[in-house]
């Protein structure tokens, strides 16, 4: 046991003396959280829009005021004729132009019908879509409120409610994904690289020729990363709670246990990679391409799995991150218990068994 402890201490020295490792371990999780939280967001806030009001009456002014005071939009341009619209978009000074037709209020009064023309910059399709939807929603809201005084013949009022994320906050989406991404990165990438580094430096030769057993070498290498990954899980949860106000609806203990399971899985993946490669660069490339990219793209983190082509859906189904993200969403956002995630948990357990068996079979007690 004493020589095992010595091994783990040595591993910590390696980690704390390598600036790159330290950066990946402690700076990256925080940077990623902040990036996804503040920069990569689907929410509309202070979008710049222009107004072209051909009518200039009470109603158009009221609607304009409503748009401006919603918090989603800032009116930066007031246009006077159609020709200016093109220029606005070319210079990129606005994302959307709202055009009111002439005699807007009069038409609305007489014909019960008036039109607003929304023109959006769809070079960024998602944002354009969102902005148009938000604008329509505000206009509709105005119309319904005005109509209360008037009795309309028949109306179906649609009231939607966004469960588990009432305000459609981006943070709900990215925290589970970021957790998966960071755990894969630290556990799989760093461990595989650190084992392969010993091979590259030739120190593995001495370790193998010593009385240390292969299993002790592996566990000794992996243990520090397991501990530090767990620290990162807690950091991410604290950050998302304190900065972005994301509550944990379900059991914290269950969430931590499932995270530990995912850490162990990622570590066994890292070990598996290291047994099949002999250079740090290869190990890094495999981890990046084979694990990190799928964790971002093919896991339901950013793009929903259901909308993908069949082949990619299969890839998603063998990607451990997919299951972990479902588990985290269920526990954290929906507040569900173990019974709702037992299937996913079972899949992860199966993967752990598979990769550890494969690694043990492939790990060499000799150099060849």
């Amino acid at each position: 046991m004493k020589h095992f402890r010595g091994f783990v201490i040595k591993e910590f020295y390696h980690i704390f003396r390598d600036k790159r490792t330290l950066a990946i371990l402690f700076v990256m999780p925080i940077v990623q959280m902040l990036l996804f939280g503040y920069v990569v967001t689907n929410e509309i806030k202070d979008a710049k829009i222009g107004i072209l009001d051909h009518s200039q009456d009470v109603v158009t002014r009221k609607i304009t005021d409503k748009l401006a005071s919603s918090g989603y939009f800032i009116i930066t341009k007031v246009l006077t004729n159609e020709t200016e619209i093109e220029d606005c978009f070319r210079t990129g000074s606005v994302k959307e132009v709202v055009v009111f037709e002439p005699d807007f209020a009069v038409k609305l009064e007489r014909e019960k019908k008036a039109s607003i023309h929304l023109i959006a910059d769809a070079s960024d399709a998602n944002t354009a879509n969102l902005i148009v939807n938000y604008t329509s929603a505000i206009v509709n809201d105005y119309v319904t409120k005005e109509n209360k005084t008037v009795t309309t013949p028949m109306q179906i009022g649609i009231e939607s409610r966004m469960l588990y994320n009432e305000e459609l906050k981006g943070v709900y989406m990215f925290v589970p994904g970021t957790m998966a991404l960071i755990l894969v990165l630290i556990s799989a990438l760093l461990t595989s690289v650190s084992i392969v580094r010993e091979k590259e430096l030739g120190t593995m030769e001495i370790l193998l020729a010593s009385p240390l057993r292969p299993l002790q070498i592996i566990i000794g290498k992996v243990m520090p990363y397991a501990v530090l990954s767990f620290v990162n899980v807690i950091t991410i949860l604290l950050l998302s709670n304190s900065i972005f106000g994301l509550p944990i609806q379900g059991s914290v203990a269950l969430l931590l246990l499932e995270s530990m399971l995912f850490i162990i899985l990622s570590l066994s993946l890292g070990i598996f990679i290291s047994t099949s490669t002999n250079s740090q660069q290869t190990a890094m490339m495999i981890s990046m391409m084979g694990l990190m990219l799928p964790a971002i793209i093919l896991s339901g983190f950013i793009y929903p799995v259901e909308n993908m082509p069949m082949i990619l859906q299969w890839v998603c189904h063998i990607n451990p991150s997919t299951y972990f993200i479902i588990i985290v969403k269920n526990i954290m956002l929906k507040g569900l218990g173990f019974m709702s995630v037992w299937k996913e948990t079972l899949v992860l357990c199966g993967m752990v068994v598979f990769f550890i068996t494969m690694s043990v079979r492939k790990f060499k007690i000799r150099l060849e």
């Binding site: 390598d18 430096l201 010593s210 009385p211 000799r366 150099l367």
Partner: protein, 304 residues
């Protein structure tokens, strides 16, 4: 008692044959040297003996344990210093030593007496990272690490390659004193001048052992007579000697050319005339005793 017994050992890789039917024994307490050029099979042999590689054919035992079946027992009792500098560059001198002590379940204090002579020279730098040490100091540290668990046999794979002449000399001095504490030392080197520092040497080339004996026996039983020849134009001299009819071999050895004749028939006046006829100035021809390199060159010629 024999510390290492190797019987008909062969090792081949996918594309190359590293060792061909090697048989030898190493006695307890001796310094046994493997002398041979790069690619001779020294590293493969060492790795088989420290249980890092499996032999393709044949058997080998270290301290009476089979290198294949009883590899765990061997790993406890041997010290191994690979050819490549294999310590942790980002750990300090002391941390490296401490690490290797703990993985063998011992401590620096317990076996300090064994490494004292070597380690005391690098101890002033014990807080320095191993990566920042000079070549000679790295070598001393590596040796200390290989010794810290008090091994019964020490395998040193080319320990002096890339080390300056002074450090090399010091290193061999350390091996001599380790021998006195009863450790069997098996060492490989590409430097022929180090052969005379071993108790016995094996000349190895292309996976074959050409000869095993005490270094002085190898040289004194060398049957060919050798002339050391020099002139003002050494380059021309070498090509002229090689094209001389009676020449068996001619190699440049430092300041002179070592020359042997066919049928061991050294006719010095004839040679002198031949060379002066070719306008060589300041020609000196002296008969000399063979050194280990002469023997090796000659054995190599015979083998090929």
């Amino acid at each position: 008692m024999q510390t290492v017994v190797v019987d008909n050992l062969s090792k081949s890789y996918k594309q190359a044959v590293a060792l061909k039917n090697i048989t030898f024994e190493v006695d307890a307490g001796e310094i046994f040297g493997f002398i041979g050029p790069d690619g001779a099979g020294k590293t493969s042999l060492f790795r088989i003996l420290v249980t890092l590689l499996l032999p393709t054919e044949g058997t080998a035992t270290v301290l009476g344990y089979d290198v294949v079946k009883e590899y765990k027992k061997i790993r406890n009792k041997v010290g191994y210093m690979p050819g490549k500098f294999s310590l942790y560059q980002d750990l300090t001198v002391e941390e490296n030593l401490n690490f290797f002590a703990t993985i063998f379940s011992t401590s620096i204090e317990e076996n300090y007496h064994l490494i004292k002579d070597i380690y005391c020279q690098i101890e002033p730098f014990k807080k320095r990272r191993a990566g920042a040490l000079s070549g000679g100091m790295k070598q001393k540290l590596a040796l200390s690490c290989a010794l810290i668990h008090k091994p019964e046999v020490l395998f040193l794979d080319e320990p002096t390659t890339g080390v300056d002449a002074v450090s090399r000399k010091e290193f061999w001095g350390m091996l001599k004193s380790l021998k006195h504490s009863g450790i069997t030392i098996i060492v490989s080197t590409p430097y022929m001048d180090e052969a005379s520092l071993c108790d016995r040497v094996a000349l190895i080339q292309n996976g074959n052992i050409l000869k095993i004996n005490k270094p002085d026996v190898i040289t004194t039983t060398f049957e060919k007579k050798i002339l050391a020849i020099r002139s003002s134009d050494m380059h021309k001299l070498l090509s002229d000697l090689n094209s001389f009819e009676a020449c068996d071999s001619a190699f440049l050895f430092g300041q002179t050319i070592h020359y042997t004749a066919k049928q061991n028939n050294l006719v010095m006046p004839e040679l002198q005339n031949y060379l002066t006829g070719l306008n060589h100035q300041q020609v000196e021809i002296n008969p000399i005793e063979a050194n280990i390199e002469d023997c090796f060159m000659s054995l190599m010629n015979q083998a090929s």
